[in-house]
Subunit: 214 residues, 3 copies
Amino acid sequence: MINSIDTNQLLTILDLSGVWAFAVSGALTAMQKRMDIFGILIVAFGTSFGGGTIRDILINRPVFWLHNETYLYILFIATPVAIIFRNYLQYLRKALFFFDTIGLGVYTVIGMQIGLTWGYSPMLGICLGTLTACFGGVVRDLLCSEIPLIFHREIYATICVVGGVAYTLMMYFGVSENVNVLVTMAGIIFTRFIVVRYNLSLPAIHLHDNMPHA
Amino acid sequence: MINSIDTNQLLTILDLSGVWAFAVSGALTAMQKRMDIFGILIVAFGTSFGGGTIRDILINRPVFWLHNETYLYILFIATPVAIIFRNYLQYLRKALFFFDTIGLGVYTVIGMQIGLTWGYSPMLGICLGTLTACFGGVVRDLLCSEIPLIFHREIYATICVVGGVAYTLMMYFGVSENVNVLVTMAGIIFTRFIVVRYNLSLPAIHLHDNMPHA
Amino acid sequence: MINSIDTNQLLTILDLSGVWAFAVSGALTAMQKRMDIFGILIVAFGTSFGGGTIRDILINRPVFWLHNETYLYILFIATPVAIIFRNYLQYLRKALFFFDTIGLGVYTVIGMQIGLTWGYSPMLGICLGTLTACFGGVVRDLLCSEIPLIFHREIYATICVVGGVAYTLMMYFGVSENVNVLVTMAGIIFTRFIVVRYNLSLPAIHLHDNMPHA
């Protein structure tokens, strides 16, 4: 059933969902900072387009939003909708987390897919997927002069890398591309929910000497 | 009269003025941070070249300052001149604001123009113009470890977008390109002066729930 | 003797050493922030690959680490090794400084070399070398939410520029390329040690008027 969909179509649908999700995530962060409508739009733009832009620049691919205006239209719809329904998003932190996580899963898989399609190895594909997924959040934090959510971002990156490895393994075991895309994406989203819900983290690397800041 | 000038020439002159203005703006910020001469030069470089660099990278155009050394020469003249005359720039905040605003107007129009010349739609042109104008300031703030002037930057971006829309409208109504370039630029500069002078701002979007920081 | 080595081979060896040195520098900074292993890996990645990536993007050269996986393998070896031996790096600040300085010297020369090879003028080569050397540290500071070490970074940049000028002069005086590469690199590393050891700095540019922050 799912294999009857063209993988490119599936990726396009997911890509547009990711743009939507990260635009909402950016808009919510900007509203917390009490920005005006253009400020919100710009943060949504940076959050939503930042990751894919750096991916496209790195592999010298035409920058996606400059060659398909659909992305901008989605941004211009998603942002006002997020503004209008902001008070229905009662539990804003949860909403932000929800959209952020969806964007994370979608962008990791898409970045990785594009990397593989362009002939890069799975290792480089994982790097590209992780960059695509994480860079938008970095831009959002910088634009909002947030103290960069480094601990969050770590969890981000860790989950992206693990998702990328899972994708590679499934690929080698012959899982069909569509199933692989959806399973990896769902896995990343699910894992992040679990990680945050149960407050999981990898052990931090401690230094024995306690010295002043370098 | 003004139509007898080649539009490319006009844009080149404006471009060089923009480089000068943003270089001074960067140098003034760096001097406020008591940097040494190389530090000042680097901040001037980032402020002045940052926006155009990201624009050229995005549309895969040769990066402007790597293909025309005039820009670097202007930087190397503008920065020491700003240092020498720093105490004549008595009201430094006003001087900074003045040069910053000129750079803003010039870079918006040039970014937009280049976008249109390269075959992008007006909507994408406006995005490119806004990016070109605003990115240098972001780099300056990051290099100077300023708390990013997000409220300023919002005004920035809002005015750039409005200027870009005005340019598009005048284009459709058949205003000659040179006049359009100059009017838009003057309009952006004028608007920013008014906005800051009368402390205007768009209403911020408020959230009803007051929750802790996400 | 040294001239019997192909300059490209010499540069490759130095490049890989630079990647190693900056990876360790990034990993040490991340460990000071008590990050987990993936966080450390990502900071090492950004520190080590940031400068060369921006250089390659600027001159539209294929991004180095996407076209030669050796760099990633070095990263994947250097980072765990730095983690394992972290407590042997007793004086961490000194170790960080040591690796950072080596990376600085290597990257300046390589950035400059690549710029010249691609047909850019010495002036642009110096700019590219300085960017290559300094950008990784900027990325590291941003990812670690360090207050950007702007004063350090100035010394950075100043030394890179001076090193680049020295390289250019030696080139004009007919010094063989290999000797030039090694002498410049050693000079940059030596100068930085001296500068930090004796706490040298260029005079800061003072402003007479003391006004509030713009």
